[in-house]
Symmetry: C3
Subunit: 315 residues, 3 copies
């Protein structure tokens, strides 16, 4: 694995998943794997789980970590080629990435979608520039269109809790006061499609995700129908892909409560956090014993540790 930015970067998911269960069972089995190696964590956006879980995983592997918040710690970066840089941007990504690649053996990047222009978000400009110029393996700490460390943690969580061989997994949109990226939803689909689950997507009309991600996954506009007999319900808000970055609905009927959960096969509730309680999901559901949200978060250490270990072995 050279980079870890999308599902397609994983060559052998079976092997990676087995490795994840081993890291989960014994987090301190490789205390020297990261010796004399440095992981740079570059945040263009806020982070709690990713920031902490990645540092924790690095500690477990004996890997040194340097954290940098672009913007507050450093300066604004230019991404366009050939620009006359006489405006507000102090450094070109070409130079910044190449330099970081000389200081770090692996670089993690968090760079959310701007939600202003779909084509540039879906071109993954920031992540792509680091892959192109840094000269070292890049891991995505959530990019404009994907959040693979979250999805891998979600996969581990589902594998751990599934009671049937081929569980029904529902990805449901829910309302939110702010316009959010499609990254978590896209990525969840990307990781679930090849997994041995029956994936169904449900959202109000107008919230269809990119066909490049949805492919032939069933989409049902009736949330109740989608939830019927579900084993896992994965809830997440996203803004519109077609009316790009727009909020089309804040319909609280989509807020997941006990009403919808009773339709399921006593489903587990999942969310990547942070979550707006009583907007995305009712307290009664997220606080119930079927809620896996804290377990998912805990598995974030497992997913990133597994990926880091894999990359370290290949260096």
């Amino acid at each position: 694995m050279l980079h870890f930015t999308r599902r397609a970067d994983v060559v052998d998911i079976q092997s990676l998943s087995r490795s994840a269960l081993e890291h989960k069972a014994d987090p301190y089995a490789y205390p020297e794997l990261g010796k004399q190696k440095t992981l740079g964590l570059i945040f263009f956006n806020s982070s709690l789980r990713t920031r902490l879980s990645t540092q924790k995983a690095a500690i477990n592997l004996g890997l040194s970590c340097i954290v940098m918040n672009v913007g507050s710690d450093g300066w604004a970066l230019e991404f366009e080629d050939g620009t006359v840089m006489n405006g507000g941007k102090a450094e070109h990504i070409k130079d910044a990435a190449a330099v970081m690649g000389r200081y770090c053996d692996i670089i993690g990047i968090r760079a959310f979608a701007g939600l202003a222009e779909r084509s540039s978000d879906y071109a993954e400009q920031v992540l792509g520039a680091f892959q192109q110029y840094a000269g070292v393996p890049i891991i995505s700490l959530e990019s404009a269109t994907r959040h693979p460390l979250q999805s891998f943690a979600d996969l581990i969580t589902i594998k751990t809790y599934q009671a049937v061989e081929r569980p029904k997994v529902v990805l449901s949109w829910a309302p939110h006061p702010k316009a959010l990226p499609q990254a978590v939803a896209n990525s969840f689909i990307e990781w679930m499609q090849p997994a041995e689950v029956d994936l169904v997507i449900t959202h109000p009309e107008g919230y269809d995700l990119s066909p490049d991600f949805v492919k032939d996954t069933p989409v049902i506009y009736d949330q109740n129908e989608a939830f019927r007999d579900a084993d896992f319900v994965y809830v997440k808000n996203w803004s519109s892909y077609n009316s790009y970055g727009k909020i089309l609905s804040q319909d609280m009927n989509w807020t997941v409560g006990e009403r919808q959960m009773t339709l399921t096969n006593n489903a587990y509730f999942m969310h990547c956090l942070p979550v707006r309680r009583n907007v995305v999901v009712a307290d009664a559901v997220i606080d119930s014993d079927r809620s896996l949200v804290i377990e998912q978060a805990a598995n974030r250490v497992v997913s990133v540790q597994t990926v880091l270990a894999e990359i370290l072995k290949s260096l």
Copy 2:
């Protein structure tokens, strides 16, 4: 010791103080005590001494440290139960604390008083939420009403410098341009009362601290009288407890200078820092050879290292 948030959390102060002197004498005696353990430091407010001394102590113990500035690094947290979270707060403390507890073996929290509403400050909402939801030991890096690591460092400092068996210790209010919390004063009282010292509090009328802290400690409104024959003078500003969070006086007669120090028994001058020079205390006093302020700051490494070591041994 499960948590370290107040004097009452310490079961055996004699034993803890002995341990402190051992850590002070040999800071590197336990370089592996923190092995494979992680300390999360969560700052809701600025910090210099606490930030640096706690990281230094962790290094001495071989304990890995993850530092997070809530607000700049992460996002605003919701503390009210049952809220419909459609405003500016992105995550509920319930979820954030539970998640942090899965990444960290010990969590340190700095969360100052807001000084807007006394009841919520004195209810210790933030610290209490972490204790309730994180599931791991919590240490206070200064909460709304207390600063126990400072008070423990102050106790160590006094024990080290006292020339008589039962020294007279004066806690004196001093003026300040901004409204400050009562935390340091409350906490100092809480740690001095059971110590073998004669504690006296002095401040202008209207600046009485909470009776829950003052108890039967003598309060004298005449600073000169209070200072007479003192062995240690501990100076600190606080805003009014009764007219909550208000500045009632900026009377520079309370600024501690040589005039007041001559009344004492050649007392040592103490302050927790940061200090407004020539407002709280005159240069001549803080720069004199009776000033212990840098020694107090140095003992911040000792107090937090002792507490961390104690908790680590119990994990």
Copy 3:
């Protein structure tokens, strides 16, 4: 070496340069040199290369690192002596520096020129205060008037790439949209003058640097003439020293492009980064195979590691 803030702090540059080449060849040769020692990095300004390269060097030496952004992490500091501190500054540098010196074995400081008042910038108030009050070795991570870790890295780079015994090195001004300090230029001159190179300075009239730095180095106002037969071209913007902190010219004829480079002896192009592309230098030059900018940045790890190792050995 007690401090590392200027060229004059280096007693034996030959020995230090030899040491640098050894660290470059084998960065992990001294993994325990920093054991039980702590380096505090205090940033008053933004940093990318310095932040990352210094942490990387510390990791290589087994030296623990504590990073602090003054301003966002801590509070505003007072530098004037005897002030009545009833304004916006919460702590005096005297106290802050003395405290940091109790927590850290070495302190690195980044404090840029304010460019408002020349006398206070050139008095090196911030750096000087840390040297005066911290009681531990201070290394400059770029001060108001110098950037010695950059200059040392530049020296290492030139030594590595020079093809002739006494290369011609040109320091050239280039335009920039913002007013920048003279630190990098001053420092480069300070390190080049005693080196075995022929140094020439070129800039538009009005951009003369301080005579205390320039001394008898030839200054040529005609960039073309200066570039003739150069082996290394070091390009950097600075604001006026005489009309202090002012931008006198944004003449894009000074932007270094292929036109000027063809006049040289196939010179290497150098810049300390971050660089405004197509304002300071044309893409064609910085992206050419004669550009050493990434190599210079990589040598920042070498220069700081060499200096840290030297200081650690002396503790």
